[in-house]
């Protein structure tokens, strides 16, 4: 047994954990067919850890689903498989390539893979009849997210209507939906990037190795260090450099930039973030750069 709490004070990480576990149990109780959207990134891993804790010793009572862009880092897929095998949960992969082949989404050569995920995801949710989809979004990430509910209602078309959100009071969540609609659930709403890292450190859980500093061939494009791969080849005037880098977010290889870093442990990563002057999205996500309202627009369309 652990020690008695003399002052009946929960640390803030314990408070966040308790709140998130409450959300998981609430959804599992009230929704017929939930699914956890799992990217293999740090936020979705923390989500999965919280789901594991919420239902232990029973198995997580819903499947995971990943939208496979075909451009995922191998290290991320490896970590994903380790988690899936350890917890014995069902993993559904919704492939963007399949969606293109089946005409669900159209690859016009100009649209990013990240954007094609929207149609692929919405189609998969509809096909499987999922009524609730957990996402790893945090309100500290971006201005549009700051106003989004923990239970975020999506209409028949999977769209978010920011001006018509349900009030959300106390810890009383309203999960009512009509046939064809679904709810996005954000159990990490009140976590910050630093909270996520402190929690990963405290729990000692596995995350993809590319979050830690490592040597990699990179090229500079649009102010970001992109990893050289089948998806990213140097263009005219670009030179390949070998650098010590790490990733602050993990997404589509063609768009996700790395940052120069020597942080090869959780402690060093926390130090680095604590003094960082740029948000994780600003630093490394090409898809949010196009306009200030880029995220809001993608959310309305049904993005994560």
């Amino acid at each position: 047994m652990t020690q008695t709490h003399a002052d009946y004070q929960l640390s803030q990480l314990d408070q966040l954990e308790a709140e998130s576990i409450h959300i998981f149990r609430e959804v599992a109780s009230e929704f017929e067919k939930p699914v956890l959207l799992f990217s293999g990134g740090k936020d979705s891993i923390v989500m999965l850890r919280l789901a594991e804790k919420a239902f232990f010793p029973a198995k997580v009572p819903f499947p995971l689903m990943q939208v496979d862009t075909g451009l995922d880092f191998a290290e991320v897929l490896e970590t994903r498989d380790n988690w899936v095998n350890r917890l014995g949960v069902r993993m559904i992969v919704a492939s963007v390539d399949d969606a293109i082949a089946n005409g669900v989404v159209v690859d016009d050569g100009k649209t990013s893979r990240n954007r094609l995920q929207i149609g692929t995801l919405l189609n998969a949710i509809e096909e499987h009849g999922f009524t609730a989809a957990f996402g790893g979004g945090r309100r500290d990430e971006e201005k549009a997210r700051a106003k989004e509910r923990v239970y975020s209602h999506r209409d028949d078309f999977g769209q978010w209507d920011p001006k018509n959100q349900r009030p959300e009071l106390w810890s009383l969540y309203n999960g009512r939906i009509h046939a064809g609609e679904h709810m996005r659930i954000f159990p990490l709403s009140n976590w910050t990037e630093l909270d996520i890292w402190h929690y990963i450190g405290r729990e000692g859980i596995e995350i993809p190795s590319i979050y830690y500093a490592h040597e990699r061939d990179v090229i500079k494009r649009d102010g970001m260090w992109l990893s050289v791969s089948d998806a990213v080849q140097p263009r005219d005037g670009e030179t390949v450099e070998r650098k010590l880098v790490r990733f602050r977010t993990v997404g589509d290889k063609s768009l996700t930039g790395s940052v120069e870093s020597e942080a090869d442990t959780i402690e060093k990563i926390i130090d680095e973030i604590a003094v960082a002057r740029v948000t994780e999205r600003g630093a490394t996500r090409g898809d949010d750069k196009f306009s200030e309202a880029a995220m809001e627009d993608r959310k309305k369309e049904g993005y994560f």
Binding site: T2, D7, P57, L169, N174
Partner: protein, 431 residues
């Protein structure tokens, strides 16, 4: 990074503590500027966010960087220059993490203020020193008090524009203190500040030698919130029954939930409600560990000695300290939709983990939140109105007065046709 002495080893250097506070005030009171300053000074704003705001300010032809743009999240709001929804913001100091529920101050958005205040430990009301207390600041204080936010701060802003005149501060201080005697405000702090120049926000101002209280940040960091929770009356709403149905855990049956009140320990005599069946706590688990006690707001799994029928929506309490199951509910309701609340109306109700239906029996009075006048002739409640209402529910609620417990004393009302949350209720009593 400065060294932090107060952390426990397993938390690393994460702040140990958390404070949720709700801000109220209009753009004119300098609320956005104040929040911008708190975020900037605690480094919660990043360069790319600041750059985006600077470039927007420039393209709009402003001569200064409009910090309000940092907090106006949605494009439709930016276009209209108003805030239309509750936004949550985050910042941390070495000792505490802060969650701000930033609510718009306009009269039509009472429902947002109520939403933001529902989870707040502290309410921050801004007034403009030049204008003194306004109807709006009184209204904000009334709502915070109605939602039983235990700590209240009145920030008297723009003191630089009244030449740091102590008399101006004193007048507002006295007027507000007198007004607060009509409300439930257990803890009040009145702080003279200039959000624009930073006086008494993070750093103590040289302009207010007559002021001996804390700076705003110092107060936010040190206000004691741990004792606001009810540690006396055991309330454990059962949320989910964990039954692994595996060979290894064949007979496992754990009642999972979040502690809403009191301290639960193995060996405690308990009663399951509404059945009234007695038992004892066999053990309490947190993930894969047994723990010696559980208290709010922990999410745990409780095991009972006896194999009694307990399911979601039930509550575990103590035999001599248990809420009486009630179907007749007397509550203050904040109405949140255009179609008014009227007698005989039927709605869905969610209280703790229990869901049922409710019928409106009577609208006893509508509360004018500006004058505190009770209008007994109202007969109905419109959008953003608050009143005292009697409900009859199909299932008994295991409830406490909201003044005693904000979790077991609150409920939401849902329109059964649209599925939308249309009302928020705070229970006076059940019978």
């Amino acid at each position: 990074m400065p060294e932090m002495a107060t952390t426990e080893p397993h938390e690393g250097r994460a702040p140990m503590d958390m404070l949720r506070f709700a801000t109220a005030g209009s753009v004119d009171d300098g609320k956005s500027t104040l929040i911008g300053r708190l975020l900037l000074d605690s480094k919660a704003i990043f360069e790319d966010q600041l750059e985006a705001v600077e470039s927007t300010s420039q393209s709009k032809g402003y001569s200064y960087t409009d910090l309000a743009l940092l907090t106006d999240g949605l494009r439709s709001e930016r276009e209209q220059g108003i805030t239309i929804d509750v936004a949550y913001r985050y910042f941390a100091t070495p000792s505490r993490k802060f969650i701000i529920a930033d609510t718009p101050g306009h009269i039509q958005y009472t429902r947002n203020m109520v939403t933001g205040a529902s989870t707040a430990d502290l309410g921050l009301v801004l007034v403009d020193a030049r204008h003194g207390l306004t109807e709006q600041s009184r209204r904000h204080a009334v709502l915070l008090s109605l939602l039983r936010v235990p700590h209240l701060v009145l920030a008297v802003n723009k003191m630089d524009l009244v030449d740091w005149d102590e008399k101006v501060y004193e007048k507002i201080h006295n007027e507000f203190t007198q007004f607060a005697t009509k409300l439930n405000v257990p803890d009040l702090e009145v702080i003279p500040i200039s959000a624009l120049q930073g006086d008494n926000v993070v750093n103590r101002s040289e302009n207010t030698p007559w002021y001996h209280g804390p700076t705003l940040m110092h107060h936010l960091e040190h206000v004691h919130v741990a004792s606001d929770r009810d540690l006396q009356d055991v309330r454990f709403p059962v949320q989910y029954v964990i039954r692994p149905k595996s060979d290894e855990y064949h007979d496992y049956r754990g009642y999972a939930g979040q502690v809403a009140g009191g301290v639960l320990k193995p060996g405690d005599e308990v009663v399951a409600l509404p059945s009234g069946l007695p038992s004892r706590i066999k053990k309490i688990e947190l993930f894969d560990k047994e723990i010696p006690e559980a208290f709010p707001p922990m999410s745990v799994t409780v095991h009972l000695e006896d194999d009694i029928d307990v399911s979601r929506g039930d509550m575990i309490a103590r035999p001599k300290n248990a809420p009486k199951p009630s179907q007749d509910i007397d509550a203050m309701i904040c109405w949140m939709t255009n179609e008014p609340l009227r007698p005989r109306q039927k709605l869905a109700i969610k209280h703790t983990t229990r869901t049922g239906r409710a019928m409106v029996k009577d609208v006893q009075y509508r509360l004018d939140i500006n004058t505190l006048h009770r209008d007994q002739e109202a007969g109905e409640l419109g959008l953003n109105e608050i009143g005292r209402v009697q409900l009859r529910t199909t299932v008994p609620l295991l409830c406490d007065p909201y003044s005693k417990n904000r979790t077991t004393g609150s409920f939401i009302l849902i329109d059964e046709a649209t599925g939308v949350t249309v009302g928020a209720g705070m229970i006076n009593s059940g019978s």
